[in-house]
Symmetry: C2
Subunit: 338 residues, 2 copies
């Protein structure tokens, strides 16, 4: 493909505290012709997750670190432009771990690439949000780890984010009373008006623990935590006996360079015979197809709403990542690059 230039964003250096756009540098390279079995993809949308902060740290919690000088790792969507694989043809829409670059070349059998066709009738936005990692994380975190029962009081932090918003709505579908915690009036309005949460707490303008106590005087049965820090502590202070805390993430601490602030009142787990459980979504990989079909059905039936925060342009990519840690995104953070 001698005529194509592949623009990329590479990791220039590791952030020691907050990630900045200077941690990334533009690069460009050529585009090779696909070998037999390979497909060439023009990347159209990049997907952004808080966990990407861990992947550029010196010591990631789980995934391997992106090497300095390497293309930033990222879930993405694109269109097949050349196929030398029998199951793919030019024009097919796909998702995969294509990274921050304009073109991706690979073998669909390569598990690291996680290439999947986007089915007919599914938008790119849906394929990268509710039907992808963020939706699946919410699905397994809420259903398999949280195990909501009808009548449970469920609180979700980071509730207007891509995962929290889905997790809360799944609890609603299961008959729970759901309280969302988010930053700012706009997000809170979206939670109650669009996503039909029962209550929304604006942590930027309200005292979270006091509002949780008012909204759930008998305590919270499930606290689904994406945030950590003081918001997790507010959850711990308001547990019902036998409560479950689902640990999904701790975005409040991801940008600190060190560890997220630890929950000082973790002993509440003892007084309330409560459980705090973490999970890695890939332990549920055998159930992805079922989960994805269920999520799609809920969306189709209007029971599950999702929001997309779409930024524009390949030059905006590093700045788009920063939006997550500034709490600026409502729903799934994407960037359209073509």
């Amino acid at each position: 493909m001698a005529n194509l230039t592949n623009h990329q964003w590479v990791l220039a250096n590791r952030p020691t505290e907050a990630v900045t756009i200077d941690n990334f540098a533009p690069a460009e390279t050529g585009v090779s012709d696909p070998s037999p079995g390979q497909i060439l993809i023009k990347v159209t949308h990049l997907s952004f997750d808080p966990s990407m902060r861990g992947q550029i740290a010196e010591n990631p919690g789980y995934a391997a670190a992106v090497p300095v000088g390497g293309v930033m790792r990222s879930m993405a969507a694109g269109e097949v432009i050349v196929s030398r694989h029998p199951d793919f043809r030019s024009g097919d829409k796909v998702t995969g771990m294509f990274g921050w670059q304009e073109y991706a070349l690979g073998d669909p059998a390569d598990e690291a690439l996680q290439i999947k066709k986007i089915p007919d009738g599914v938008t790119v936005e849906m394929a990268l949000s509710v039907l992808n990692f963020t939706g699946l994380t919410a699905y397994f975190g809420m259903l398999a780890v949280g195990q909501p029962k009808s009548g449970d009081v469920v609180a979700v932090s980071g509730a207007a984010g891509a995962t929290g918003s889905i997790a809360g709505q799944i609890a609603k579908i299961k008959g729970c009373r759901v309280i969302g915690i988010a930053g700012g009036a706009q997000k809170c309005r979206w939670l109650t008006d669009v996503a039909r949460f029962d209550e929304a707490i604006d942590y930027k303008n309200e005292r979270v623990s006091r509002r949780l106590r008012a909204c759930a005087p008998n305590g919270i049965n499930i606290f689904y935590d994406n945030v950590g820090g003081e918001i997790l502590e507010a959850g711990l202070s308001n547990l019902a006996v036998g409560a479950r805390i689902v640990l999904c993430g701790a975005i409040s601490g991801y940008n600190s360079g060190g560890l997220p602030p630890a929950p000082r009142n973790y002993m509440a787990l003892i007084w309330k015979s409560a459980t705090m459980a973490g999970f890695m979504m890939n332990h549920f990989s055998e159930r992805y197809a079922t989960a994805s079909a269920q999520l799609a059905a809920w969306v189709r039936d209007g029971e599950l709403k999702f929001a997309i925060d779409m930024q524009e342009g390949f030059e905006s990519v590093p700045a788009t990542l920063l939006r997550l840690f500034e709490g600026r995104n409502l729903g799934k953070q994407l960037c359209r690059i073509a």
Copy 2:
């Protein structure tokens, strides 16, 4: 009982940080004659638990605070000296919440007193340790919360304490490989030589996380934590996938006045799909009799050893409580007062 003087220890003031003997003051009172339905007990042994630190705090985590000026609350053993209750007779040995005093008067039907006869063949030491709260806590914490399976690697902190020593041995009985963490060579020797733990780590002289990694290269399946702080963090750093942390207590922090140090690496629960679960023993109260019978059978069969740290004299009572927080007790801390 005009001729009897009841010496007591009352709470003189609340400790703000470490508990000291000056937080308690001696007092004395008369001894009333039992009314119909009551029994009068001469208290012979007092039982000491780390949780007593919480009960003299301004804001206990769970139980009501002992009032300033009130007799210090305590499990104890004694002998009935006057009975006006048809089920009790003079000479019966009993346990109950008699408090730090030489005589206790009450109605066996009063649930707060928790009066129980010590069965024939059971020593006072056994009745106050392995068959009482400490043994039951270990039983339910390990079996119901930890759910050990044969072949699991189990680590116990505070392993030479009254609860930890029983918890670890129960895991051994269930076919686990058991690592104990305790302070000092004497306790560690007791763990391996008497209680038959597979490994003992001396936290005062060894690096706990490094030794845990060496003893459990594939990670710990169950971490039974009595200590909190850095030792809990060492456990979190060495979890196997799907591990359970049983939160029993956090003695390292009880004496700080504030909250125990929070586990800074709690996010390890996510990377390992692990669970941290607290429990209150009274949620298992319907199963006390079964559990106590099982514990007694294990002791009788020689499968379960217990150690008693017996101090002497009513004047030694406050100082005996301090031993727990100084880590001086091996096994159950008792004080004989008559």
